[in-house]
Symmetry: C2
Subunit: 256 residues, 2 copies
């Protein structure tokens, strides 16, 4: 690549989250960085878009030398506004979303604002990568994965993605052992088993607050959940085509 690539950065934890700050610091060494990210935490927003309300955008100067905007909408709104309003004349070579504070491996991808923002960019034919760290902590360490993130981004810029042009990258939590490497995986199976804390608000009305834990079976070796459990970074090529192709023929009995 002769000129520096144009890289759109977004996330779902909000524009002030340490994860996006870390990602911006890595990307600005690689390309021209443009940032649009939510002005408040948007975890678990999935592929939500804002239809019923107006959306606000404010320029922010918290990242030195970077054109950055905070957005009152969802992560997907951020990408749509980046593409259609703020940077409509920029040809993006890559969109990176994250680094998310918390896993987006397995079924988490469908709830994830981080991955939905990346998917939205992929629908605009931009190679897109969502990065997530298996650590919810605000003060989580991200730097143990710097070399891997740099390598992945350089390789994607160099070789280009095909198909749905979307990667779901999850990174083991910082620990005693260094990361073992990178595995290209399938999406592991498992579900969230919700519990709801019931309470009574100050005005005497009952409420429910979602909690839950991730339940998954023994992980098959080719899945992201297995890779992460074994201290590898997982990469799942992911698609916005939700067709369950295996069922097409079986379901022909429904035709009339």
């Amino acid at each position: 690549m002769n000129t520096k690539p144009n890289i759109l950065v977004t996330n779902d934890d909000g524009i002030t989250a340490p994860g996006i700050a870390h990602l911006i610091s890595l990307m600005k060494k690689i390309g021209h960085v443009f940032v649009v990210a939510p002005d408040s935490p948007q975890s678990g927003k999935g592929h939500a878009i804002t239809l019923e309300n107006p959306i606000r955008l404010n320029k922010v100067s918290i990242y030195e030398g970077i054109e950055a905007y905070e957005c009152s909408g969802t992560p997907v709104d951020c990408v749509k506004l980046a593409r259609n309003v703020l940077f409509k004349n920029v040809s993006f070579d890559l969109c990176v979303s994250g680094i998310n504070h918390g896993s987006n491996a397995g079924i988490n991808i469908i709830y994830s604002g981080t991955m939905s923002a990346a998917m939205e960019a992929s629908l605009e034919n931009i190679d897109s990568i969502g990065f997530s760290l298996l650590d919810f902590d605000f003060d989580a360490t991200f730097s143990h994965a710097d070399n891997y993130i740099n390598t992945i981004v350089h390789q994607v810029l160099d070789q280009k993605l095909l198909g749905s042009r979307l990667l779901n990258v999850n990174i083991p939590k910082y620990g005693d052992e260094p990361i073992k490497g990178i595995r290209v995986c399938t999406q592991g199976s498992g579900v969230w088993k919700e519990d709801f804390q019931e309470g009574v608000d100050p005005r005497g009305r009952k409420y429910y607050w979602m909690t839950g834990q991730f339940i998954s079976e023994k992980h098959q070796e080719d899945t992201d959940l297995w890779a992460l459990e074994n201290n590898y970074i997982s990469i799942v090529p992911s698609s916005s085509d939700l067709t369950d192709y295996d069922q097409i023929n079986r379901l022909k009995f429904l035709q009339s």
Copy 2:
């Protein structure tokens, strides 16, 4: 089936929408119906869940003889509360979501609260169907598809779904010609091309409001977009496994 099936009904247009009222009227002839649906329109909420705020539930008596609750959360929240709080002792044979006022064919599935609610139920191992009508009108006619909806529901209850246990059913708008039949399809390709109306609010602050139009190429004959254009009901078996399997081998260069 010897006993009447237990059917969970939800939607994203809200519990008072004509579409869910019509679906309830059809389902109560088939099984025991339980309803949890949003208390306000939740179109475009995708697979969003409510993590940052408490959720409210209120029993409503607008559907005679039916246990029904309105929920302040998203469509996916509705299903989670149905399963884990309200009807935790009910073994559901089916979840139906809709009938949505507007298409969820093609890429619309990923933005759709209707389909996300159905997908959430499928993750709980409940056979699930999202129904959508290609008509946004509040006063849209639904009854031209009654026989088809009844047939699909009876066949699914009888034969059971496999795989991801999720069907995306879209119904042509009521028109001069009767519906031609049912086609089992793949998800058609196409994207939303957004535009944003820019305005100034009463306090003098700029806002952006999303509009847009659906752009799609010429539709291949096996896709839902083709079927609908040709006045068939489309059924796309859909999956929560987003792995882009075709790319796994090509991307092995990313491994280390």
